[in-house]
Amino acid sequence: MTGARLLVVDDVAAAYPGAAVPAIASLTFEVRAGERIAVLGPNGGGKSTLFRLITGELALGGGRLDLTAVRCAFVPQTERSRLDFPVTALDVALMGAVSRMPWWRRPGRADRELAREALRRVGLAAVEDAVFGSLSGGQRQRVLVARALVQDAPLLLLDEPFSALDVTGAERLELLLRELAAEGRGILMATHDLDQARAADRVLCLNRVQIAFGEPAAALTREVIERTYGGAIVDLAAGAAALLPTHHHGERR
């Protein structure tokens, strides 16, 4: 990896207020410009906690987190967005510009043009006036990516971006993320899908502590996957394998 360092995380730990046990600990990794990093882990494994640390919503409990990119943009899961709210795709994209302004400023014509350009970039120019809640899951996810593009952040954080998408929607988003990385952006995306993790440039395996960090081919060993999911891989007939998870619990946000 030769791109400039955008984010350096060194022995980082964090706990939620009042919690006795840290939500994540012993994290050491980096994100460079132009690479896509998958954060692989089970629900409750600390993926969202890591993102909240990077966006500054949660205080660092220990270690060093160096965000040289200055700005990072967070793309939430569209399943968690309000579908009943009267906003259009353009309104949502424009919120990326609002996030860079003081509270009394209103977005102007130039900001509106930026938002339109971002929607064009994600292939949604035709639906800029459509109500957000009326779009498909894949379209909504891309609108949220457009909002992050308007924030003009070199580092993009995506929370399980593929979880609500059908195959076509997922392929489109995958292509878009590759393009954005090729332009020099760093991409950190949470997933619990092994195939998504294998398609990334590097993978960070996380289950409250860091299990592994590296290129998928080398990092995603059977032992690492078992430790990441806290379960056992069972070999099935014809060379297939399945993971038997041992627990499922809600992820704290």
């Binding site: 966006t55 919503e57 709210f85 009267p86 949502v92 919120m95 609002v98 996030s99 009394w104 209103r106």
Partner: protein, 277 residues
Amino acid sequence: MIGWITDPFGEPIVLRGAVELVLLGVLSGGLGCWIVLSGVSSTAESLSHGMLPGLVGAALLGIPLLLGGAVGLVVAAVAIALVQRSPLTPDVATSVVITGLLGAGVLLGLSPSAPAGLGSLLFGDLLGVSDLDLALAAALGVVVTLLLFLLHPTLLLTGFDRLNATALGRSPARLDLVLAVLLALATLVAVQALGTLLVVAMLVGPAATARLVSRRVAPMMLLAVAIAVVASVAGLAASYHANLAAGACVVLALAAAFCMTLAGRGIAHVVLARSAA
């Protein structure tokens, strides 16, 4: 027909009532949209009902109703906040507190030493608004309109994506506080005209009606103001001709606007579905 509409406003007190309704319509139409979109309509209702003891107390002590109402609002807000700690769900706990406060207000209002009729505090006195009421409604209308204009992008961002508003550089808690203060001020100013039982209709009704037919927030706010002004003034004219209570007619007109819009929307859906089939 035109005479039916214009005649009532030849009377100075009816004209003053109409001016108050226009000012309150501008004030509450836009603000009401954010109350409806933030899902705090029931809080608005609770606050306005819970301030009654403060208003009655002010009437008994002979101090300005505005001051009593302000104290009543603070007491109601503190009481609501305290019962949220109970093991009951918030709506149950709030209902108990608010009906309790309403009962206390009625008890005080029916005491022999109470000067003014309890009715005007419960249902307002639209035809008895003072110059001060009009001036306050106008001043607050300007402040609220200016703030809502400046805060519009922030309100939109936070309302749409509250979970991630902090990551987008906005503080939902701070915005909640601003909205709560504006809601309290609007209630305080409007309660003189519409009373503790009816004031929430002006704050929530037009916005709820506009929500039924709006795809975006800014047009929804303009529509809510238009509905608030037209329906409430129409209600006032109707009350003049039918010789009925002004406040109640205004509230009924606002409710009728909501029902007609809801019915019209239902009919439009059926017609569109038929023509598409």
